[in-house]
């Protein structure tokens, strides 16, 4: 028996994803808007100070537009080499330590106890911002690139192991099951079933972290952890905005090179 077409309803509305009741939903929207307006109202802007600062900012931009690579080249090249050394060593050391921690932090292949330990290490590493760690390490080991190296290694561990662990948790379980069914040991399982599935992403993330570490090396140099950041800080302190502009241009250039080459390598390892 088929009903007449006219007996079916003509309208249909998608059911709301959350908060079934319409009044509750609209009052929540209103509340969010009110909060936003009030928050904007509390921002206190000192306009005369802004006008003064514009002038200083403009001098900075002018220096940036007429970069001076030569007069401080010795300092710049020394800082650059220090930064690149710091970046490469800390990325390598960070990744070497992050791989076992990342494997341990993957719920699907690690025992419960190991999982919680590794997750805590990741949480600790990620909750501390690079600058704060850098200040701590500079206080412990003195000014210079060693503190910077330790800072970046520590930050790399948190970043890489978290993303690696998440990637391992997303792997195709049927491949793991098949390798387990052959009577493989745990290490063989990692090598044959897990590694092939996560390798392209691990390489991509490593290159991405390399370029983050280079940028971070410029920032943590400002708090005394050596490298190009220290040189940049000195230049700004001396009001040598043309040298500072040159340093910034070099940083941008190097980040662009790593960006472009990492895209290329990632396509190649797929």
């Amino acid at each position: 028996m088929v009903d007449k077409i006219s007996s079916f309803p003509k309208t249909w509305k998608r059911p709301p994803v959350f908060f079934e009741s319409a009044p509750l939903r609209y009052s929540l929207y209103a509340l969010a808007l009110l909060w936003f307006v009030l928050a904007i109202g509390t921002v206190d802007v000192n306009w005369s100070r802004v006008a003064e600062g514009m002038d200083r900012g403009w001098r900075f931009v002018k220096g940036f537009l007429t970069p001076d690579f030569t007069s401080r080249w010795k300092d710049i090249s020394a800082g650059l080499i220090e930064s690149l050394t710091m970046t490469l060593t800390s990325t390598v050391v960070g990744i070497v330590l992050a791989v076992p921690i990342g494997i341990g932090a993957a719920r699907n292949i690690a025992p419960k106890a190991v999982y919680y330990v590794c997750r805590s290490i990741i949480a600790l590493s990620r909750s501390l911002q690079e600058i704060i760690i850098a200040i701590l390490f500079v206080a412990m080991f003195g000014f210079g690139p060693f503190a910077g190296f330790l800072t970046l290694s520590f930050a790399t561990i948190g970043f890489m192991s978290k993303l690696l662990a998440e990637d391992i948790e997303d792997i195709d379980e049927s491949q793991t099951e098949a390798i387990r069914a052959t009577g493989s040991s745990w290490l063989q399982l990692i090598n044959y079933a897990v590694q092939p599935q996560v390798m392209p992403r691990l390489i991509g993330l490593s290159l991405y972290r390399l370029d983050i570490n280079f940028r971070e090396s410029a920032v943590i140099g400002i708090v005394g952890a050596g490298g190009i950041g220290a040189t940049l800080n000195t230049a700004i302190d001396r009001y040598e905005f043309d040298s500072a502009g040159a340093i910034l241009l070099i940083i941008i250039f190097i980040v662009m090179i790593t960006e472009y080459s990492s895209g290329y390598v990632r396509r190649w390892v797929q």
Partner: protein, 257 residues
């Protein structure tokens, strides 16, 4: 050869997947395991190599009691049981050869497998198996470069590379077209007959099960409701396994095939 006694499995969520399952398989017998989705077919074959941990009951392969083995003993028994999967379950980014050689993982040390330095006889056997399944030219290709039928043949080669005493086969044809399905089933049967290898084939397609197996076990809601030769699989039995349906068309199909 294989005997399963009073096997039950209750999942943590509380659903009973297997309920007091008992059967034995003599060596060389190929058994088709049929039943509706969710009847526990998959759970049953995964209990045999303990990819799924049984709740109670015992399983014996030859003289070994599989249930209750320690982790290292379990590895040793798993390498005696080859497994073939529905979606092939090859490691996609490894080469065909690495996939076949992974059947030897239970026999070699970690460092040997890490450097892909497998013993000469293992490599030779792998080449022989690839030739047997007709994939000699594909040894160095990545597994994800192959078609469905080719991948399943790599899966078969990997399982046989283990020198198994039993094959567990989970829906071998579910992802294949009818012609390839028949080719794969025929190949499996030939391989089992050549080696006198017993096998449990978990299969949805009743027509294929009838055509290729010598004994059929019907599973319904975790219980065995039929155990006999394919010739006894009539309408009333199919109704007992799957529920009420017009089974006549199926009869015609199998007669035509």
């Amino acid at each position: 050869m294989l005997s399963v006694n009073h096997l039950s499995k209750t999942y943590a969520a509380g659903d009973k997947a297997l309920d007091d399952v008992t059967f034995t398989i003599p060596s060389g017998q190929v058994v088709g395991l049929i039943g509706p989705s969710g009847a526990g077919k998959s759970t049953l074959i995964r209990c045999i190599n303990r990819l799924v941990e049984p709740t109670s009951g015992s399983i014996q392969l030859g003289d070994t009691t599989i249930t209750g083995l320690s982790t290292s003993e379990l590895r040793a028994v798993r390498r005696r049981i080859g497994m073939i999967f529905q979606e092939y379950a090859l490691v996609e980014r490894l080469t065909v050869m690495e996939n076949v050689l992974s059947g030897r993982l239970g026999y070699v040390s970690f460092w040997r497998s890490f450097f892909r330095k497998f013993p000469a006889e293992d490599v030779q056997k792998a080449f022989a198996l690839l030739a047997r399944v007709g994939l000699t030219d594909h040894a160095n290709k990545r597994a994800d470069a192959l078609s469905g039928g080719q991948r399943q043949r790599v899966g078969i080669a990997r399982a046989l590379e283990q020198d198994p005493q039993l094959l567990l086969i989970d829906e071998p044809t579910a992802s294949l077209d009818p012609k390839t399905s028949r080719q794969v089933m025929r190949l499996l049967l030939e391989m089992c007959n050549e080696r006198g290898l017993p096998a449990i084939i978990n299969i949805h397609d009743v027509v294929l099960a009838r055509q290729f197996t010598e004994r059929i076990i019907g599973l319904q809601a975790g219980k065995i409701v039929f155990d006999g030769p394919p010739s006894e699989l009539d309408e009333s039995v199919l109704t007992r396994i799957y529920g009420e349906e017009d089974w006549k068309t199926l009869e015609h199909d199998s007669e035509a095939a």
